[in-house]
Symmetry: none
Subunit: 212 residues, 4 copies
DNA sequence: TGCTAATCGAGACGGTACGTCTCGTCTTAGG
DNA sequence: CCTAAGACGAGACGTACCGTCTCGATTAGCA
């Protein structure tokens, strides 16, 4: 993960050449391009290095695994999700989900959902990757936290609301839809949020789900 | 001269040897053994064939991909889940979830959840595999259908309950927990079901979730 | 070799179906066709059986090796070389060499020289094949024997001429040209024979050769 | 972003690792060992790589075919044949043939004749290999050239002797004996040369041969 | 006419080599 | 010291062929 790699602009005591930022960018770019062209499973470190005109040893030095390159891309993509506007719970959630689902679908030019799906699979047997994903989730939930706490503050949710449960509840459905390849289109986001809110507030079985 | 040989283009009647069931069993066994020993990503078709004492061509003849072998194992494991006992919705769901989660955890000797997780990841780029997984889900939901319809019949759920939404709702949380590596222990199943039921019936935010 | 295979018209004590001559012909035909299409090294027993619409077991039953099929073809081709006309030594040899070189070049529809070359190579490590080739040489030399003995009878060669050496001498050059891919065209045969005759007459009655 | 990185299409100056001479030697050694143990046809690229503890890709990088490895061995063996001593034609030829036949028989530790036989067979369908063999012949004939020209200079052969024909003539017999598995023993070399000389002297200055 | 072998086609099987590819490491030379 | 290039040992990939083995269907002499 990028957290464990030396800071790019950090003061260094050792002599010698510095890490090439141009190379790092070229590698990420090459990975994204290959992702679009051949799909995640067909991406190889070899091809990434070739495409980026980088030496294989250079790639391996900074990213031990292709999942780590994927995580670098996910991290880079994440920071482009702006904070919620603080409106009603429903509107904040629609805003938030629209952005998250859009990010997953690839609206930012990168199908982040695809990367997430593969990273979750590989994380099963790679504890370091699993920890990175948990951190990623925690970060995402920080923003959800703000949304839900604001809703509690506005009285839209009862004061004793369990934040952890609420966040799980809100995310479990989109995540399930992501994994089963049924991510909602932009005009279906509101319905997905409403379904979620039903359950979150005092849920019922009133409206139909997207179905399988 | 071959023109003088009889019936060259006639419909053939001879058939050749049949598929060996012993070999099929050996391959599935070998896959399960390797899964336990080296983990899913490290399994290779080569090693499966070697371990099963089967020819590589034989393995490829019947399973084009290691994910397909995993699916064969999942299917074989599925049929060991018995039908619900038809008690209350809560108890039926606890029964059902206990078995599903147990199956996923590997109580049947095979960590089916692990296989499911990897199959979902690979299905992203393999439509045939995706279809097989959808069929698998549909089959699992058949049993959920019975449970929910029985609950509607008993008046535990309103008559107009949308079955598809209810099933999605019930499965999304366990699935999410599976993917995020937080499958509940046997004594936590009841709580997970209660959380689900809250949302399913007219849910509120009464009880805390397992948390991250 | 065909000599080791059961005689087709031999008296049989057991009952049952007989060897299919149509199949034998189809196999030889398929081999010849593949020889022309893909070249000797690329011929496989599998392809021969497929092409002949014969079962692999049937092919293996009668020809243990593809070199044995080649030998069957060589033997079939050989019998079409007629006996010499008994003219002068020079003319008999030109006649004979024209036919042999023509046979090798493929004038009979089958590039026998190509088969011979490969059989000689494989015979290095297959004693049975080597014996068959020696028999094939001996048969060819029987005809040469007649030519040379007639020449001795007509006084064209001295009475004490060593037949074995003479035959070796006559065949070594065309064979060398075959192996080095320089088989003479029809109008160059006479010159080749003349070159041979110079040496044959000069050294003919001197010393016995190593023999066959 | 890669556009901003310097000198992408410029002529490269860095070079990468060089070919490993140790590996080349190990491969040739492994091939020779396998030749002695299992025979030429049973040698596989796989086994050569395994035996040489080399990667298969490394072997294929430098030798596209096992015949090419054989040629490397032949070439390495060739350079150990010393120049003729310039005595009489007969003695020079006996010297030369003794060495050539000895080389073929394997006196240098490697049965070169066996390799030659198989290379000639495979060269039928591999033009590149055929060219390499022709080059090998031409090199061998350079030495024969010297022997024959010296004989012409000493008056042992007529001044107009056709060198190409003479060389063909001298080599055709030993070659034939090699191919028919009757390579002469050391004490039979003189007789073989004498037989050859009979023809060589009689027909020497008559007509040009087909040439190499 | 029915029985009994032998032979046939087809093709699945356990093996194994093919030639290619990627892995992750190491070497080389330039900056 | 970092970099691009690329050779290296290792070994999996998916295909093809090896030679053996069932499978039924077919064929022909013997009962």
């Amino acid at each position: 993960m990028s957290e464990t790699r030396p800071q790019l602009s950090e003061a260094r005591s050792s002599v010698g050449a510095r890490r090439s930022e141009a190379t790092e960018a070229a590698v990420l770019e090459a990975f994204a391009a290959l992702l679009a062209e051949v799909g995640y499973p067909a991406i190889t470190m070899e091809a990434v290095a070739r495409r980026a005109r980088a030496g294989k040893a250079t790639v391996y030095r900074w990213w031990p695994t292709k999942a780590h390159i994927a995580l670098s891309l996910i991290s880079k993509a994440k920071i482009e999700i702006p904070a919620p506007r603080g409106l009603s719970l429903r509107e904040d959630l629609i805003d938030y989900m629209t952005r998250v689902v859009g990010l997953w679908r690839g609206d930012a030019g990168l199908p982040v959902g695809l990367l997430v799906r593969h990273c979750y699979a590989e994380a099963w047997s790679d504890p370091e990757l699993a920890a990175a994903l948990q951190a990623e989730r925690r970060e995402r939930w920080t923003m959800l936290n703000a949304i839900i706490e604001a809703a509690v503050g506005r009285g839209e949710l009862p004061p004793g609301t369990d934040l952890a449960r609420a966040k799980d509840f809100v995310m479990s459905w989109p995540f399930y839809l992501l994994m089963t390849d049924r991510l909602p289109a932009p005009d279906e986001i509101a319905r997905m949020v409403d379904d979620t809110l039903d359950g979150l507030r005092a849920g019922s079985s009133r409206r139909p789900s997207p179905g399988i």
